[in-house]
């Protein structure tokens, strides 16, 4: 078994040279960019909106205990059962217990990254339940037995022909590769599942402390149906999802839609406050909410990176990241990919195994600039690098700086070394880019700019 870092390097090398893959991603991103920019421009003050969103999330996360207690009190008052899980294992056990108690057979799910995080589907399938993902993109990647490629667009990497192929193999037929006809095949298959399902499982985008509600944003109506038809509903979410007040959604819903998918508002933005109430005739009889920690409190304890818990999972930082756009979502090998994944994964799953993600960055800052809640992403990548080198200093870096420091602090020695460098670079020309090149690891894919023929000091002396 290779390490995550070796796996990352191998996949990144393969995919960044895969022109078809790059083409698919560029096309999808191109469409997104146009729509996103149009929606941002519709705001009267986008930058002020970002600052408001950042401050609101700051309040939410920095008073998390108070907000969570208020959220739980309010949602329990309408008959919801709230469960707390410190670990992924506890969350899986809580959900499996509910399924057992309800004698469930078929489970229908709407998109939830938190369930990917705790590997819920595998656990439920091993326990013998039939689990159906209902978001079209999730449904497709589930049929292909792969993880989602992107936190908002799970099947972004696939062409219509690949989707037709998997429908033919797994669903026994697809009329054509037309996106509309393929969508209708999925619609027919899933309609029956909603009606059969005993339990519906959803994620959530926001938890409203003031009114005790969970807000779910979607376009397809699959979450609406998952929350309407089965007799039992379960929502799994991370503890950091709180917003203080109901009206905060007036800002967060359009910002999430603009940055996530380039829409003014996603098709369905729904707030659930409990199971079927006494005056209501449909909806689940039981509603369970599972609040998941799974190392979020460790991230909370790091005041420097606490703002990474502000994340609303819009995926905007993935979409602008030059690394993500070349190596793709699967290469990360993590639940949360792209810049936000590179920041939080080392904190959630161990710095030593996942520090390489923080080095897979050009530090261009595009992620920080686009983030609607102003998470300081690229500085957090630098902090991860710092923390990693503190935890496990690299001997060759230490050696390199031991050599560099005395040279750089002695002008005469520095001058001598640059002269030698110029000579050395001439000789390097003979082997550059070849197997004999000592700098091959660098030069096989990168340029090595020439050292200036004249130093600044030399020029200064000879100026007229």
């Amino acid at each position: 078994m290779s390490t995550p870092a070796a796996q990352f390097n191998q996949d990144a090398r393969r995919l960044s040279a895969d022109l078809r893959h790059r083409q698919t991603i560029q096309t999808a991103m191109g469409k997104y960019e146009v729509a996103r920019d149009q929606r941002k421009a519709a705001f009267q003050h986008w930058q002020a909106a970002r600052q408001m969103a950042a401050e609101t999330k700051w309040d939410a996360v920095n008073h998390l205990d108070r907000h969570l207690e208020q959220f739980v009190r309010n949602i329990e008052a309408r008959g919801t059962k709230v469960h707390w899980a410190s670990t992924a294992q506890q969350a899986r056990d809580i959900i499996l217990d509910i399924l057992r108690e309800k004698n469930a057979r078929v489970i229908v799910k709407s998109k939830a990254m938190t369930s990917e995080e705790i590997h819920l589907n595998e656990a439920m399938e091993q326990a013998g339940y039939e689990v159906v993902e209902s978001d079209l993109g999730e449904f497709i990647v589930q049929l292909r037995e792969e993880p989602p490629y992107h936190i908002v667009f799970p099947a972004m990497h696939l062409t219509r022909d690949e989707i037709k192929d998997v429908f033919q193999r797994k669903l026994g037929g697809a009329p054509s590769n037309n996106p509309e006809e393929l969508t209708m095949v999925a619609r027919r298959v899933l309609r029956e599942k909603y009606i059969q399902a005993d339990v519906g499982i959803t994620g959530a985008n926001f938890a409203i402390a003031e009114t005790g509600m969970l807000s779910i944003t979607e376009n397809e109506g699959n979450a609406r149906l998952t929350a309407a038809l089965p007799r039992t509903m379960i929502t799994l979410l991370g503890i950091e999802k709180v917003l203080p007040r109901l009206e905060d959604l007036a800002l967060f819903l359009p910002m999430l839609s603009a940055m996530g998918t380039g829409q003014a508002l996603s098709c369905y933005n729904t707030m659930y406050g409990g199971p079927r109430q006494p005056d209501e005739t449909d909806g689940p009889e039981e509603y369970h909410v599972v609040l998941l920690d799974n190392h979020r409190t460790a991230l909370l304890a790091d005041a420097e990176q606490r703002d990474s818990l502000h994340c609303i999972r819009c995926g905007a930082c993935l979409n602008v990241c030059p690394i993500y756009r070349n190596v793709g979502g699967h290469t990360y090998g993590t639940t949360y990919c792209g810049p936000i994944g590179a920041v939080i994964t080392p904190n959630l799953r161990g710095l030593n195994d996942w520090k390489h993600l923080s080095y897979a960055s050009s530090l261009c800052g595009a992620c920080t600039e686009t983030c609607p809640v102003k998470i300081d992403l690229h500085h957090h990548l630098l902090q991860n690098r710092r923390n990693a080198s503190r935890q496990k200093p690299s001997w060759w870096q230490k050696l390199a700086f031991k050599v560099f420091a005395p040279v750089a602090t002695r002008p005469a020695l520095w001058s001598l070394v640059t002269k030698l460098g110029r000579l050395g670079q001439k000789l390097h020309g003979f082997v550059k880019g070849g197997r004999l090149d000592p700098a091959y690891a660098w030069t096989k894919t990168r340029d090595l700019p020439p050292i200036a023929q004249r130093t600044f000091k030399e020029w200064w002396r000879t100026r007229s």
Binding site: I195, E247, A264, L265, G274, A303, K374
Partner: protein
């Protein structure tokens, strides 16, 4: 100790160290954040115009962009006539609705068997209906959204299970923007919220296959908004 206590204890311990305030990147010292007011939100959100006419025009334009069918009608009789026209054009056989403010009388006038979701109903029967006709709480000009709740619009499934959703609204129900819609929710339901509140913005859609827009992914393929 329960897991609840464990998690809350870890949170409180973590928060004993203060985090830097957000938005320091431009060197401006800031106070501890104060949550934005409705005026603050309106200053940054997309503009909606002052007059009712401007807002109505905006709603119409948004609905068209979303491929929802918006029709402004002249009174209750025009509403019945419009519904009958739709029944004929679409060949409705079975209609689902609820006994609401506008839907009750309108559906009785349709002359078709109507499945009412005010009492317990069979979900398969609802799925077999051609159309779900509901009231709503508000129309939002800013986004072209229809605001429904489980109390005002016949429960959770009626507005999303049948392939065509027809919303009937009064023109007084048009609100300018999202802050106004949330203020309305608080004023109307603050004493006891319904279990589901939903902003419906156009017919169900997906772009999951090559980012190509397809309507009617799981929810309704058509959304018609009839406003009297």
């Amino acid at each position: 100790m329960s897991e609840r206590d464990n998690i809350l204890a870890r949170i409180r311990e973590a928060l004993s160290i203060a985090a830097p305030l957000p938005g320091h990147d431009h060197g401006t010292a800031r106070e501890t954040p104060v949550l934005p007011t409705i005026t603050d939100q309106r200053r940054v959100l997309p503009a909606v115009g002052q007059s009712l006419d401007e807002q109505l025009t905006l709603f119409r334009a948004n609905a068209a962009e979303l491929r929802a069918d918006f029709r402004l009608l002249n009174g209750a009789e025009a509403l019945v006539a419009e519904l009958k026209g739709l029944r004929a054009a679409e060949g409705w056989q079975r209609v689902a609705s609820h006994d609401g403010d506008l839907t009750g009388a309108a559906c009785r006038a349709l002359g078709l068997p109507v499945l009412l979701t005010d009492q317990a109903f069979d979900k398969r029967e609802l799925a077999a209906c051609d159309v779900g006709i509901t009231d709503c709480d508000a129309l939002v000009a800013q986004t072209g959204s229809v605001l429904v709740t489980s109390r005002s619009a016949g429960g959770r499934a009626l507005s999303v299970l049948p392939p065509h959703h027809v919303v009937v609204a009064r023109h007084e129900q048009l609100v300018p923007d999202l802050p106004a819609a949330f203020a309305l929710l608080k004023a109307k339901y603050g004493g006891g919220y319904p279990s589901m509140i939903s902003f419906i913005t156009g017919p169900s859609r997906t772009g999951d296959i090559e980012r190509i827009l397809v309507l009617g992914a799981h929810g309704p393929k058509k959304l018609t908004i009839l406003c009297v």
